[in-house]
Amino acid sequence: MANKEKDEDILEQISNQEYEFGFSTDIEMDILPAGLNEDVIRFISQKKNEPEWLLEWRLKGLHTFERQAMPDWQNFEMPAINFQDISYYAAPKNKKKLGSMDEVDPELLATFAKLGIPLNEQKILAGVEELEGEKPQVAVDAVFDSVSVATTFKAELAKLGIIFCSISEAVQEHPELVRKYLGTVVPYSDNKFASLNTAAFSDGSFVYIPKGVRCPMELSTYFRINTENTGQFERTLIVADEGAYVSYLEGCTAPKRDENQLHAAIVELIAMDNAEIKYSTVQNWFPGDKDGKGGIYNFVTKRGACRGKNSKISWTQVETGSAITWKYPSVILQGDNSVGEFYSVAVTKNKQIADTGTKIYHLGKNTRSRIISKGISAGFGQNSYRGLVQVGSKADNARNFTQCDSLLIGDLCGAHTFPYIESKNNTATIEHEATTSKIGEDQIFYLNQRGIDTEQAVALIVNGYAREVLNQLPMEFAVEAQKLLSLTLEGSVG
């Protein structure tokens, strides 16, 4: 029928559709030759003028990395990664420290502008302007390959005592804070990729919100991999002191390349008494082409510690990119009455693989956690939810609710669920719900019959399915994420 042909046309279109952010920037770079050894680590550390303790720590990471085996429990075949083929340092060639935004290489500013991330403090993120009412401000730390190139709104934040800068800068300016918290949530030996990051981390963001301060704007990092054959190993550390609040966003893209590129990041969050951290990610790394060639290997360790009582950490992620996504943003609920949340939408299409979920450790009394995971698989995509809920012997009255849904589009994709529950305290309440559904022809026909074409119908259905998660995102990013979801799945129904 005519309708079927049209669906096939749309499918054809999407298969050939270009990844929107696949361009690369031609800019002079300092690039270290490929390879990983002590000299490389020393070079990076020296380049950044790091104190001795940090170099020692990096070297511990390196030596652990060399001994560690690759993880083998994931639900896909781990690709062979030759760690000696990767360059561990690439930075835009530039001179001295920048005094102001005006000194940033115009080529770089143009790159970020093209990505919809203006590094101009007068402007705000694309898409926000259409919204009515007060325009929210977003402070951005832009990371280009290995280094942070610009951080906006620093001065304004400093008035409140908030520190928001690249981690390299924090090492210079606030060494005592960095030393106190770095590596205390994700130890250098956590897993092979975490050890690698510890050894070779290039840059990333550092945030410190002092006691009783509510950060008045969204803080955001934008990661961009540009150079060929480099890895990106950034490290983010966010500390919310007693009674502080911060909402943090992370976005990322990369040029189209035939080779796979490695992204092995670490994010550590620390919330003290009555503090709250909200961490949102919209991950749109290059996913590879329709045959599965190229794309980013996204092997990331993210973990938060609710150290204080009544503290709260909330992870929200929208994962649409990367050839392989391997990440489990976790929360350690140490403080009594602390709360951990994980909201996730993960989309896989073509030959993409996602193995993602969370780990929640209930240690304090009356700790609560909530996990909402929404997987969407299309094409040949494989989507696994992997989750661990652990209740310690002293965690009286711990409560967890997990909901884990899978949506299938077409019949060549896969959805898998691996929930683990371990409780050592019989006062714990743990609930787990799971559903699997397909976008039904009936649903699409119903919407068609109301004048809505198939492409829009799929977008409506998918956004409806993911709504509970999208609602967790800050307003302006929710709009972007909705568009991204619709775009990603355009024409996936055949």
């Binding site: 309708n3 649903q443 004048g451 709504r467």
Partner: protein, 249 residues
């Protein structure tokens, strides 16, 4: 308005419509009755363009346009509306967002600008009142967790909002209690005008007490075997369908 000529259709190689002829003029209400499996709902599906239904012969035009040549969404945009027998649930998509999307798609097809938020809400309020639709349901997910009656009433709200030329009500009365039936019928009666037309597909005469048709047709074995005025419905109610089956053996 609608002209069906010698329509043959099959689903999975099974012939289900076997030469339907039907003329529906503006301002008219037609009832199509018939026993189970006679092809009533199939006719609705074919007109709306559901996949799997293959038209093997015949033509259908709406105001002169070849309906069969259009994709389902374009048939809807041209003014064909089907009130479903079993409206689907779409979790997470709010009723109001769905209505707005549908309305603006249809408007844009006719070269009209989308309604702004204020005017859209105003219109929704008006129509809600007209068809006695519970305001609370408008903000809920589309049909999710609605009772059978609420789903049917939601179909009528959509009908009121989208103002189609031709509405086909596929067993809208099934599963409705007497109060819901009255509300649904009142809604339809208020929406009747000299410019639009309705086809009511039903098993029972009961609905036709509330919505009085101009014509009644009996569909049996894929064909219209008898047509008449509203009295035909009463006759069917009295005598059942057996005599029709006898006559058309």
């Amino acid at each position: 308005m609608l002209s069906i000529k010698n329509l043959y259709a099959s689903v999975e190689d099974k012939q289900i419509l076997k030469g339907i002829n039907l003329e529906v003029g503006a301002g008219e209400v037609h009832a199509i009755m018939g026993p189970n499996g006679s092809g009533k709902s199939s006719l609705a599906s074919v007109l709306a363009g559901r996949e799997n239904y293959e038209v093997t012969e015949g033509t259908v035009t709406m105001d002169g346009k070849d309906l069969l040549d259009l994709a389902p969404e374009d048939r809807a945009r041209e003014g064909l509306f089907l009130a479903f027998q079993y409206p689907v649930e779409i979790p997470g998509v709010s009723n109001i967002n769905f209505l707005k999307t549908a309305l603006n798609e249809i408007r844009s097809y006719h070269g009209k600008a989308p309604l702004d938020a204020k005017r859209f809400l105003q219109l929704t309020k008006e129509k809600q009142k007209l068809v006695e639709f519970d305001a609370k349901l408008v903000n809920r997910s589309l049909n999710e967790g609605f009772s059978g009656g609420e789903k049917k009433r939601n179909e009528i709200l959509q009908l009121a909002m989208l103002e189609p030329k031709l509405a086909i009500l596929d067993e809208t009365d099934s599963g409705l209690d007497i109060d819901a039936l009255r509300i649904v019928s009142n809604g339809v009666n208020k929406l009747r005008s000299k410019d639009n037309a309705f086809i009511l597909i039903t098993h029972y005469q009961r609905l036709l007490e509330y919505i009085v048709p101009d014509f009644v047709h009996v569909l049996y074995n894929g064909r219209i075997v008898k047509s008449g005025g509203k009295d035909l419905a009463l006759e069917l109610e009295e005598k059942g369908y057996d005599w029709i089956k006898e006559e058309n053996k």
